[in-house]
């Protein structure tokens, strides 16, 4: 793995506590730029916690404490002078359950964009933007006649694609995805996976998944976590063929999890 380019996300000695319970132990990770990295491990191993600490959305829980460092594109995000609004513009997040806002499709797509461009743009510019990002997530043809209807009325697959689309107008560099396909049926899953694969290169994508097959077919690198610690981080092909740790081998072969 080339160290030439600075990683998209770099953590050093990251520890995290929920009250008295320590959920992450000295996590040192470098998440490569422009690639899809999947994060696997049994329930409760800290993968979602790790993901949610990168954009600091985890701090919505006021009993969370962290130590160590997290850098996104070379910027220390735990520093006290970091503007969360800017951080979350740089780092978009897709949730397990599609969570479009209860407003129109169009306004969902423009939501983040309008937050970060408070002075507004012409209707034509906005229309163009909406079309561009909806095409980028392969959703335009399905929803172009329903832009003004409620986003919560779309199918789950459409909702999840919309949740990805609405991140793109503000040009994030990192996309965090927390089991983005677990609420979807197999067909929708493969559509969303395909989309994620399309987006790599332009975005660095970190995806938490419970689905071994998904990690295997839709990621470049793979990280295996267990009980709050990183066990193994390797190119996906290598990890699934020749895991270096016995815990990894046991997990990916389905002996526990």
């Amino acid at each position: 793995m080339a160290e030439a380019r600075e990683p998209a996300i770099r953590t050093r000695g990251l520890n995290l506590w929920y009250g008295d319970f320590q959920a992450l132990f000295d996590v040192d990770l470098d998440i490569a730029r422009g690639r899809v990295t999947s994060l696997i491990g049994p329930s409760g191993c800290g993968k979602s916690t790790f993901l949610r600490s990168v954009n600091r959305i985890i701090e919505r829980l006021d009993y969370v404490r962290t130590s160590g460092s997290i850098e996104v594109m070379g910027q220390d995000v735990l520093a006290s002078d970091v503007a969360l609004t800017q951080l979350r513009r740089e780092v978009g997040m897709v949730f397990q359950r599609p969570n479009p806002l209860p407003i129109s499709v169009r306004r969902n797509v423009l939501f983040a964009h309008r937050l970060h461009n408070p002075h507004g743009q012409s209707r034509a510019e906005e229309d163009e933007l909406v079309e561009r990002v909806l095409r980028e997530v392969l959703l335009w043809d399905q929803v172009k006649d329903r832009l003004d209807s409620l986003a919560t009325g779309l199918s789950l697959e459409e909702q999840q694609k919309l949740c990805i689309a609405r991140l793109l107008p503000v040009k994030p560099s990192v996309l965090l995805m927390d089991e983005p396909c677990s609420a979807l049926d197999p067909e929708a899953t493969s559509a969303v996976e395909e989309l994620i694969w399309e987006l790599r290169g332009d975005y660095s994508i970190l995806i938490v998944t419970h689905n071994m097959a998904q990690a295997r077919r839709a990621s470049d690198e793979c990280i295996f976590m267990l009980l709050g610690k990183v066990v193994e981080h390797a190119p996906t092909g290598d990890m699934f063929v020749t895991p270096t740790h016995s815990e990894t081998a046991d997990y990916i072969e389905g002996r526990y999890g």
């Binding site: 954009n55 006021d62 609004t85 979350r88 209860p102 939501f111 983040a112 970060h116 991140l167 503000v170």
Partner: protein, 307 residues
């Protein structure tokens, strides 16, 4: 040998559980239906006492347009309720001006900002406020607010539209806060999380996501507050001055519809015109609060179907 449970004696055996089940069912049904029965009974009673009179004998044109309320004047009593309607409306309107910003603000603080202990304490306090009897509020209006207003505005009488409006506003705020907070709490947390993850500030989340989603519930809260203000009697009677008057300023004395019934009904001869016209006021109040509650209910339901 039959067991004490008796479950061997065939499908038509009625065991103890079956009877308890039946009894509970009947009791609960009775409890539920009684609410409806009482409402209908009250309506029938009021209608029977006043509706015939209101529709046949009462001069409705005078009733709604004349500010002259002279129920005991001889030989020709005048029943013009306009001053009373305006009195109730002005007090309620002012009360809403006071309580809507207060209670929506309080609900936002309790629901969206306060955490842990602060939140619990505030909720208990608000519920405690809602439990203060209205006569106590009237007392506060008379004894505390009135001298204060006399001082501040340099007027000789402290009981007025303003006094009653403030008192009523304070009275209506707790219930409105509680209902508004419920409406905010009903907004799925996923919406807030989604918006925050896109870089919205707390205030942007509240203004652009939470408040629009909770809109119906908030309107319902305000409407119920209006209904509360409309129907309130004792506090308004004590704080408004209780004199028949078309108010031209907030410092004028007025008399409310409810207060009129409370003050006069005991002194009328049963079945007299005066007695019946008071019941017609009752019908008016009933209709208005009924419509307000119906609207509130429709807004709450609207929220459910919109999801």
């Amino acid at each position: 040998m039959a067991s004490p449970g008796g479950d061997r004696s065939g499908p038509d055996h009625l065991g103890r559980e079956w009877w308890w089940d039946k009894i509970a069912q009947v009791l609960l049904f009775g409890g539920g239906i009684s609410a409806i029965v009482f409402i209908i009974a009250i309506f029938v009673f009021i209608a029977q006492q006043g509706l015939g009179y209101a529709l046949v004998d009462l001069d409705l044109a005078t009733y709604f347009t004349s500010p002259e309320w002279r129920p005991t004047s001889e030989p020709e009593p005048v029943f013009g309720a306009l001053a009373l309607i305006v009195g109730t409306a002005s007090v309620t309107g002012l009360a809403m001006l006071v309580s809507v910003p207060f209670s929506i603000g309080a609900a936002i603080f309790i629901g969206e900002f306060a955490t842990g202990r602060t939140r619990e304490i505030l909720k208990v306090l608000v519920e405690l406020l809602a439990a203060i009897p209205s006569v106590v509020w009237g007392f506060i209006g008379l004894m505390v607010m009135s001298p204060l207003l006399m001082d501040v505005f340099d007027v000789s009488v402290g009981v007025s539209v303003l006094n009653a409006g403030l008192i009523l506003g304070l009275m209506a705020a707790p219930i409105m806060t509680t209902i508004a907070e419920d409406a905010l709490k009903a907004v799925p947390d996923g919406f807030r999380e989604a918006a925050e993850a896109m870089g919205a500030t707390r205030w942007q989340v509240i203004r652009q996501v939470v408040l629009p989603s909770a809109k119906n519930g908030l309107v319902a809260a305000v409407l119920l507050g209006v209904g509360r203000g409309f129907g309130e009697t004792m506090a308004v009677l004590m704080a408004s001055g209780h004199s028949i008057n078309m108010p031209t300023s907030p410092l004028d004395q007025v008399r409310a519809l409810t207060a009129t019934i409370a003050a006069e009904l005991g002194e009328t001869a049963r079945g007299s015109d005066h007695y019946r016209v008071l019941f017609s006021i009752g019908i008016l109040l009933f209709l208005v609060t009924f419509i307000i509650n119906l609207l509130a209910d429709m807004f709450v339901r609207g929220k459910k179907t919109a999801r």
